[in-house]
Symmetry: C2
Subunit: 116 residues, 2 copies
DNA sequence: ACCTACCCATAGTTTATCTATGGTAACGCG
DNA sequence: CGCGTTACCATAGATAAACTATGGGTAGGT
């Protein structure tokens, strides 16, 4: 029985949808490609597990923020390619501004700024 | 039956413990005071509900990151004052560096930095 | 023939936050 | 002096998002 460290989350809860939408602004991608892209761009700090990713994509589809179609990859496999919709682009803007507002607020609490 | 907007969280999940610990680095406070402090410092952006706050304080107590004692407030009421322990201060450091790493990683994904 | 990498998807568990509820005590006010 | 309001603590139940575990399918290489 190995002593194990308390498991830390692979990403900040509440940021997954935003990360996926942002990734799709560059080009349509399949799920596997989205996960790879986030992992690489973040220098391996953020890892999106399949059990988080695919449910998230279902949510995004339901909201109409992405659409999907089956295609063949460069390596000749069937894969679902997700594309950002106009509504998704708008949603991304909303989530980004809310996120930045949160981060700024946290920054104010975490700094020792003194008021009068 | 009123149409209601989708409820947005009052703070970023996963940041509450860090915010509380940080707040207690200034001075010991009771729960109500912690909530007020976070709300004010964040310019009302972050609101800690009682149902989030007190369970969080129980967690922190269990971990030994804060200790508590009953005292009287300036307004002559009984209240539990929480004080940061050395272990809590250490934990705060850990959480802050992890948080900053996450934020930096998210920043890399959210910016359009191009690699070769 | 098998193995590995690629790719999708869901069920079940866990964890953190929110909502709702309930209680105690001090103070101001009519 | 009763009554409402504010200050304060605490827990139970609901909700949501992420994780673990599992299962399946296909292409390419050896």
């Amino acid at each position: 029985m190995v002593t194990r460290m308390a498991k830390k989350p692979d990403l900040l809860p509440g940021t997954l949808d935003m990360l996926i939408l942002k990734t799709l602004t560059r080009t349509p991608l399949h799920g596997y490609g989205i996960a790879l892209s986030i992992k690489r761009l973040s220098d391996d700090v953020l890892t999106v597990e399949e059990g988080s990713l695919y449910p998230a994509l279902q949510r995004l589809l339901l909201h109409g923020w992405v659409k999907a179609e089956w295609k063949m990859t460069e390596t000749n496999r069937r894969a679902r390619f997700y594309t950002l919709t106009p509504a998704g682009r708008k949603q991304l803007g909303i989530e980004m501004s809310q996120f930045e507002q949160m981060i700024a607020a946290i920054g104010r609490v975490m700094s020792d700024a003194r008021e009068a």
